[in-house]
Symmetry: C2
Subunit: 109 residues, 2 copies
């Protein structure tokens, strides 16, 4: 499903899912300082080519990275918007009030 045809919850799930894998976090850490080509990532992360490609696709589908092709190389870069989005989703999920259920209340009436 395209990102913009997704419920808020589905989008949250997609974003956080993309962030919930060691290899992908490793990729993101490598891209923190700027754009990298796939072969660089491969060497440094010590990941088989198709494995890396798989994770890059998950990140790309989630909008966390963008890619550009230059000759026979592909370069990947982090997308700030996705991080803004994740942060704002987190803020929405954050607890608001201190407590609403008074101790001693009955539930399951």
């Amino acid at each position: 499903m395209p990102v913009d045809a997704m419920s808020d919850t589905a989008r949250a799930v997609q974003l956080f899912h993309a962030l919930s894998d060691e290899t992908r976090v490793g990729i993101i850490e490598m891209l923190e300082s700027g754009e990298r080509c796939v072969c660089d990532l491969q060497d440094t992360l010590n990941a088989a080519q198709s494995r890396l490609s798989f994770h890059l696709r998950v990140l790309k589908d989630a909008g966390i990275v963008t890619d550009r092709r230059e000759g026979r190389w592909s370069y990947y870069e982090l997308n700030r918007d996705a991080f803004d989005e994740a942060e704002s989703i987190l803020k929405e999920l954050r607890p608001r009030a201190r407590r609403t259920t008074a101790r001693g209340d009955v539930c399951c009436g």
Copy 2:
């Protein structure tokens, strides 16, 4: 593994994994406004008892919720610290520089 005996990356993965499921996001949304008992969650989210219990445990293991027992009921509440933590992890993963690879650079030398 206990949360405090975990690498930064492993912790990031655990937190984001806990956030990457529709049912769990649903639970979090219900807890935004304060503490709730399990039976409330069950009714509203329309989830089988053991299923809910499973997801609550994932959230609890990740430190996203805390629980307390009162008589035969269990109450769950969001833990602000986990949200702070997730936010700060997100900030660390965020891109720093604009671009380091100049166009036309060669890689895979």
